[in-house]
Symmetry: C2
Subunit: 440 residues, 2 copies
């Protein structure tokens, strides 16, 4: 595909198209699940867990993981995994501490009249983290959700992770499949309590609280269509993070990065699932050919070759642009989740890039280094929402309160202004409240 | 009501209860309006504006307000109103500039390996501001929404404000009723373009874009049930601010502030509408009696006495607490939008208060001074959402992009960690991408 093609605009739009439209049947079932959990609490959560996860328990207490279990999972890992988890956690913590210091502290000033103005920044009291179970269980997501909450100063972090039983579809089992890396990550990240529940019923338990699961103030973390629908519905009762769409990478290449590195970076997005999107923008046609050749050479070696091939064929694109400048413009239209600048002069192009979840500069910065351990968060805005939203961060686990202390002197000045505007809006009590503070 | 009453808990909960539950009929109509505007653009907006606002126009261009009209509205105001608008705008601008400086700038650091990590903070490209028309038309809201966007650096601020015609219900008119203070505020606040459209059709026009109305990245501002439902539905396509519930004030009083001042502050919330909530918490029973006496004395003088009386009777409460400490605890449970500390030692109580949209310290700080001109934003989280959300601010009109530039040396360290974790998650392309950057 080339930007000079006659049909480029239409083809490009079709390739980008992805709809978050929800399924009416899913919506209906989720509404029922939420209502049941709000009404019946633990009993409803237990019933849905038996039905959907094939996991039988006499009480929700049985589905709580103890700190000892989390620690044992960590202790049972191979040394290399233990160390990698700890190193990744340390780097993520350092980055988010810098983020808190840069933009997450209270501030105030006094004006000439002695009036104090500012903002007090405080952590949320209690948050819930949803961690998907089954085949897409990512311990790195536990770190990326829990550590910013911890750094923000959140006192209680409640994790939910479904552990569906290998199920014959008839008799629920008492033993679900727990992912030891996920449990170990919860230990490393400092999760306060953890429950092996999932789906809309887990979101409902966190949003409303049950006899056993405490009500939280915000729920973050990815999940399937049921989880996404449930989060959307409880929004307002609790805070939520973004509803994530398929993951995306966009690589801007000037031809200086080894073609096999770029091919593998495209694969690393495509291997997530068939809807994931990998796009290369490059002004050098010969380089695009080399990347294509590396794709063809490397694909058969990949264990997830089937998924990668489907993602690249259905949603991917190698696009020949007129220039790097045009590539940057197209990138701004896409507002990609992950944006690699595979160039020897990444700082030349970075200022031209207005919208992206994360920007990876230079050939050594593969997206996968950022996904796991560079330090910044890997929970990023998808589906063009980087136009208006940001990576998950410490700020998502804090809130601000305005601070105003008007001095007697200040009240004389402000009272006159407020009185005029309040009368203009027909709000006489507002005006009188301001006027009462005037020395007349 | 006293916290020592046997039935306090139940009575208190009943008083606080407010449900944001949506009306199925409203939902259905809003879904239709959104779909029509997305499909037909200008033509659909014109048709709904004729039908709902009784306002007839041949094209959407006719419904655009020129900068000259906004300026003329400003020039036509009495001098006191012109000056009050400008003074309020200047103070709001100063505060939000301080906010940007404290928490809204890009930052970065290099680690020992020379790897660069940070965040780039950029303004949104284009935002939409919804301004209600009719009887609840508040020019102060125009300032409070547009100025933070302006300070953030947003290039285009698109305002929509319905100007319904005085309508006989049969023949739409070509002239809607424009509020000159609202138009003047748009001039003062630096609105880029303004359209006299409203309702779900205006939200749809901003979210999807039409032939005439440009598509925005985020929509802020209050509105009726149709507007709230439309904002909720377009969330994800564009960003939105919070969906606001009824306004609330909570006054913590130690008995040192003149009782008539506190009574008027309670009125100034109650006069908004019958669902607004005004609560006083005080450990001094005699003071509560004095406030009640002032309420009885002042109420008949108020032009909006009917609304105030209904709000206070249906939703208000004067609560006798055991102590100021208990009053602070109750306040934290409520997480009020506006929180006044009517005390001679407000800084003694402020640290105990964890959740509030804005905290007004000391007897001179009436909420109304904050509403209009102290400087902080008056768009604040309602209905207990101060547990997890913040005042509207510069940060709502900015987004962040993570910046990562891994050095060759850094890639050696990070590559080993990422490789272990990626293999642990079964994502081999992630691992290979990291491993390719290793010097072996």
């Amino acid at each position: 595909m080339a930007t000079t093609d006659a049909g480029f605009e239409a083809g490009f739009k079709a390739r980008l198209h992805w709809s978050a439209d929800t399924d009416a049947q899913v919506e209906q079932r989720v509404a029922e699940i939420l209502a049941e959990v709000e009404r019946r609490g633990d009993a409803a959560v237990l019933a849905y867990t038996a039905r959907f996860d094939g996991l039988q328990a006499a009480s929700l207490q049985e589905l709580e993981l103890t700190q000892a279990e989390l620690e044992a999972a960590f202790d049972g890992l191979p040394a290399a995994q233990r160390q990698a988890l700890q190193q990744a956690a340390a780097r993520v913590r350092t980055y988010h501490e810098a983020q808190k210091k840069a933009a997450g502290e209270s501030w105030s000033y006094r004006d000439a009249d002695g009036t104090l103005l500012g903002q007090k920044v405080t952590p949320l009291d209690r948050v819930g983290i949803y961690v998907p179970g089954g085949k897409a269980a990512y311990p790195s997501s536990v770190l990326m959700n829990a550590i910013p909450a911890h750094v923000a100063g959140v006192a209680e972090i409640i994790m939910v992770v479904p552990t569906p039983a290998r199920w014959d579809g008839v008799t629920p089992s008492a033993r679900g499949e727990k992912n030891p890396l996920v449990l170990a990550a919860a230990h490393v990240a400092g999760v306060t309590r953890a429950f092996t529940i999932g789906g809309a019923q887990a979101v409902a338990a966190l949003a409303y609280g049950t006899q056993t699961v405490p009500r939280v103030d915000k729920i973050t973390g990815p999940g399937n269509a049921y989880v996404a629908s449930a989060k959307r519905r409880v929004f307002g009762r609790v805070g939520i993070d973004m509803i994530a769409g398929p993951s995306e990478i966009l690589v801007l290449a000037d031809g200086s990065t080894p073609a096999d590195w770029v091919a593998m970076d495209l694969f690393s997005q495509a291997e997530h699932d068939e809807l994931a999107q990998s796009i290369l923008l490059c002004p050098d046609a010969a380089y695009i050919d080399r990347v294509q050749a590396e794709i063809d050479r490397l694909l058969p070696q990949m264990p997830r070759a089937g998924i990668i091939a489907k993602s690249l064929t259905g949603r991917g694109a190698l696009i020949h642009t007129r220039s790097m400048e045009e590539a940057c413009e197209i990138s701004n239209r896409i507002a990609p989740e992950h944006l690699e600048i595979a160039s020897t002069e990444p700082h030349r192009w970075e200022p031209l890039l207005r919208h992206a979840g994360a920007i990876f500069l230079g050939g050594y910065t593969s997206e996968s280094l950022g996904d796991y351990c560079a330090g910044p968060n890997h929970v990023l805005p998808t589906s063009s929402t980087a136009r208006f939203s940001s990576p998950l961060g410490v700020y998502d686990f804090q809130k601000r309160s305005s601070i105003i202390e008007v001095s007697e002197q200040g009240a004389q000045v402000l009272g006159e202004i407020a009185s005029v505007l309040a009368h203009g809006e027909g709000l006489q009590a507002h005006a009188r409240a301001a006027e009462m503070r005037l020395r007349r």
